[in-house]
């Protein structure tokens, strides 16, 4: 496709409470692939009330340039202000592509930008390869992950979001990025919504993507009380708790634990699926795990088709024994 004289990539690095999103940093990786293929540079864009820490942390992570837009208007959740700043920067830097994390904000901003500019919008990218120097091919999931689509945008510029955990963090390098501070004054009339209140219900940080072991529970766990067994097993393994959408919608565990479609993509060395039947929307987010153990009463559950070890049995009876056995072996080894 024809990018004309556009060759630079603008990556919006989203922050939450002043901390950069993992998927935001990861989106620098495809930006480098694309930028270098087009012979352009990668500009990381920070928009926030205070960007200093993030600017420092971004140094050496592969961006050629860091652009910081700071101001009181850019507090978390004010998407109209973020959109104004992003579209201003897209106008000024005239990139070949605008990339962002596949988060609610990243998706909203890139979708709005694509409508404003009438350009292609790619959401939820899992990988990128260049078919030739100017044809980026992105892999997307369809139908809950049962089908994969390789797609190319048909406009230049285009916008894209990348799924959390799909790309590796860019390799640390000694390369110093040039820092530019841009001032953006947001006109009052573009602010159509106001954040009245922000409530944090989850205080602990959950890092599913980097976990060595993930123990997940699904609908088959039956209750919030039973779900504690999942937490206990994760605990003895030094792993992180995951969950399916039904378990989260039942209120047994918070959204931050969701694995699969509209949740996190994980690839731990060990994945234990408890009371999970194996809907494709869940499997698509954990199939890349090293070793998969499934515990399910239903011998025909599709989760057994992908499990390395499938325990046919009631999770409520299996998990307590596993927990005790692992404890024994751990203390025995010490």
């Amino acid at each position: 496709m024809n990018f004309g004289n556009k060759k630079d990539i603008l990556v919006f690095i989203e922050q939450n409470g002043g901390k950069m999103l993992k998927a935001g940093i990861e989106s620098i990786t495809p930006a480098i692939t694309l930028g270098h293929s087009l012979g352009g540079k990668v500009t990381a864009l920070l928009i926030g009330t205070e960007n200093q820490n993030s600017v420092k942390r971004l140094q050496g992570l592969g961006a050629d340039k860091i652009v910081s837009v700071e101001g009181p208007s850019f507090s978390d959740g004010c998407s109209d202000a973020f959109f104004y700043a992003l579209s201003q920067m897209a106008e000024k830097y005239d990139p070949a592509a605008v990339l962002a994390a596949d988060s609610p904000l990243g998706r909203e901003l890139t979708a709005r930008l694509s409508a404003l500019k009438s350009v292609s919008c790619i959401h939820g990218a899992l990988s990128l390869h260049m078919q030739d120097t100017s044809t980026p091919v992105w892999t997307l999931q369809a139908y809950g992950g049962s089908i994969m689509n390789d797609v190319a945008p048909c406009t230049a510029p285009f916008t894209a979001t990348v799924r959390s955990g799909a790309f590796r963090k860019p390799e640390a390098s000694g390369q110093k990025a040039e820092i530019t501070e841009e001032s953006v004054t947001v006109p009052k009339d573009v602010i159509r919504s106001q954040v009245i209140k922000s409530v944090k219900e989850i205080s602990e940080e959950i890092n599913l993507e980097d976990a060595k072991a993930v123990v997940s529970g699904g609908r088959g766990m039956g209750s919030k009380e039973n779900f504690k067994l999942v937490e206990e097993l994760a605990d003895v393994l030094g792993g992180v708790v995951g969950a399916t959408r039904p378990a989260i919608e039942s209120g047994w565990v918070s959204r931050a634990h969701q694995v699969g479609q509209s949740g996190k993509t994980v690839k731990p060395a060990l994945y234990i699926a408890c009371g999970i039947s194996g809907a494709v929307q869940h499997i698509s987010g954990m199939e890349g795990s090293g070793y998969i153990v499934a515990v399910n009463k239903d011998e025909d559950a599709p989760i057994f088709d992908i499990a390395d070890a499938g325990i046919v049995g009631d999770a409520m009876q299996v998990l307590p024994v596993m927990i005790e056995e692992i404890k024994k072996r751990k203390t025995g080894a010490n």
Binding site: N16, S79, R107, E108, A111, R112, S114, A115, S118, V119, S120, C121, G124, Q131, V137, L140, A142, Y143, G144, S146, N149, D150, V151, P153, C154, T155, R192, S193, V195, I196, K197, S198, V199, K200, I202, S203, S254, R255, A256, S262, L270, V280, E287, I292, V293, F304, D305, I306, D308, A309, G310, I311, V312, G313, V318, V321, M322, E325, I326, R329
Partner: protein, 263 residues
């Protein structure tokens, strides 16, 4: 309050889709078409808002022939009227064009019915491609506010007050009217139709709007080009453990984990 709900008909998402052996396309034959789950949540939220604040709920869908059934199933659970937007010219429209088609349809409906929509509801994404672009794009084209990922909505003095789901909790976001909102899974479930409401919906007319009413919008200008469709590589199935007791099975599995040096 005049409320519009945009819905999409998708293949039942509890069914795993495979490829057709002869054409290599996604094989959707035999998978029942349903209203996208997030759109059913949006509709339920819209109908609840109508019930508490008054007004009417209109449903529209850009889709192929046969989408009337999806619209009728919305009429059976609280929507008052529905329109299908269908034209061969709209086939293969990219997401931004589809949103333009929606925006033009809104304009046409407002002109022809004299209604003025206060809120446009969309599901936060569709279960087929999970893009979630329609809501924000529609708002941008119409130059009105948008709040995404709602789990609740209330009428407020100057507009609506939205409960927006976030990664670690929620936000309360206020926005003026008209606006677009996109809906995630609320705490409640969509209602079921009754036999009577189903029968009544079946008898209702679903007018079809074409490019002659809403204008000719060039399709496929921004549509992504699909280069390859394939099924994800399958993992090999391992061993099944089914000992006499669950405890025996558990011990055997832990033994295997230890052997694989995973503990």
């Amino acid at each position: 309050m005049e409320i519009l709900v945009c819905i999409k008909q998708v293949p039942d998402d509890s069914v795993t889709v495979h490829l057709k052996a002869n054409t290599g396309e996604a094989d959707l034959d035999g998978i029942s078409p349903v209203v996208n789950a997030f759109d059913t949540y949006a509709l339920e939220m819209a109908v609840r808002l109508k019930e508490s604040s008054g007004g009417a709920v209109t449903v529209i869908s850009v889709g192929p022939e046969g989408t009337e059934n999806a619209i009728k199933s919305c009429l059976a659970v609280g929507a008052d009227s529905g329109y299908l937007i269908n034209d061969a010219a709209f086939n293969n429209a990219g997401a931004p064009e589809k949103s333009k088609i929606l925006a033009s349809s809104v304009k046409y409906l407002e002109k022809s019915t004299g209604k003025h929509f206060d809120i446009i509801f969309c599901g936060k994404e569709a279960t087929d491609y999970s893009y979630g672009q329609a809501g924000p794009q529609l708002a941008e084209i119409m130059k009105i506010g948008v709040v995404t990922d709602l789990t609740d909505i209330k009428k407020a003095d100057a507009g609506v007050c939205c409960k927006q789901e976030t990664e670690d909790g929620y936000r309360t976001v206020q926005t003026g009217l008209p606006c677009v909102v996109t809906v995630s899974k609320p705490a409640y479930d969509p209602r079921y139709p009754t036999i009577r409401s189903k029968l009544a919906a079946r008898k209702m007319e679903i007018p079809v709007l074409t490019s002659s009413q809403i204008g000719n919008i060039t399709a496929a200008k921004t549509a992504n080009i699909t280069l390859r469709i394939y099924e994800p590589p399958k993992r090999k199935c391992g061993v099944k453990i089914k000992e006499k007791t669950c405890a025996d099975s558990a011990c055997k599995a832990v033994g295997m984990l230890a052997d694989a040096k995973l503990l």
